[in-house]
Symmetry: C2
Subunit: 167 residues, 2 copies
């Protein structure tokens, strides 16, 4: 079992690290991809090694995509190679778990039309503009897609994320 995170500097530290450690607890291999290989730094100063660049990721090697929030998605959504990765997961109907600002990446990849989803409150307008059915709940599950609003939702987010790979 293998999971892929897409992120960048200014990630929301707990939204990356809590799912990261949770997946490793379950014995899942985790890769973190960013625009380039090397350290990325969260808003609260935690450093995480991005061991893959977006361009070198082979999406078909992974069983789960995780999109943490914070300031990182604003950078990730500008990277065509990152959007191509998200589209590959949706094309194969593989689980995608996005929290807070993470769904912005799915907006830019044009993957939310008609999909039920949630996100950080200030992101909700662009979700609706992208054709999503926005719901203000701790976690929204729509097929392969799991979304949550903020760090306080992490317990529900983890629960639904883990269910998708334990089926």
């Amino acid at each position: 079992m293998k999971a892929l995170f897409l992120s960048a500097d200014h990630f929301e530290d707990t939204e990356l690290l809590v799912p990261y450690y949770r997946l490793k607890e379950a014995g899942v291999d985790v890769d973190v991809a960013s625009a380039g290989v090397g350290k990325i730094t969260g808003k609260h100063g935690y450093e995480v090694e991005a061991n893959k660049s977006f361009g070198e990721v082979k999406a078909d090697e992974y069983d789960l995509l995780v999109l943490p929030g914070g300031g990182a998605p604003a950078a990730v959504r500008k990277e065509p190679a990152a959007l191509a990765i998200a589209r590959a997961f949706f094309a194969d109907n593989k689980p995608v778990a996005a929290i807070c600002h993470g769904p912005q990446i799915l907006v830019s990849a044009d993957l939310l039309k008609g999909r039920h989803a949630t996100c950080y409150a200030s992101v909700s307008s662009e979700l609706k503009d992208a054709g999503a059915v926005y719901e203000d709940r701790e976690v929204v599950v729509d097929g392969n897609l799991v979304t949550s609003r903020s760090p306080a939702d992490l317990p529900a987010f983890l629960r639904e994320m883990m269910k998708r790979i334990e089926r």
Copy 2:
């Protein structure tokens, strides 16, 4: 099922928050106790509400004790009411999970004599002086006691902590 954390300002943020969210994911009620009720702030700036004071905790209401690290244990270990809580868990052979500097609290409570345990490297001398059998491993389990060294050990720490309450 109910878990209790003992902490204070300058906690290592991930060592408190990762087990905290993990337990809530599993539907466990979590209380955080400190010298007084109110916000405590981690080394990386995360704020957590301590909803109990050490003095008002009734240890017999809980199934698990978690002792995160960072700078917090240096303060917690000076509080007789916190040491009494740790002793009550050991007296009833209930699970205690301590990471990094967290075992310092158990040193001060004189609970480690002859027990296999690990901790942050710089804390190992005082563990040995307290009579513990120190082991440099990601997680050490000795009966009710689960100990780990640092945030990088969180996956193994979570795995063993959860096993103790899922029995």
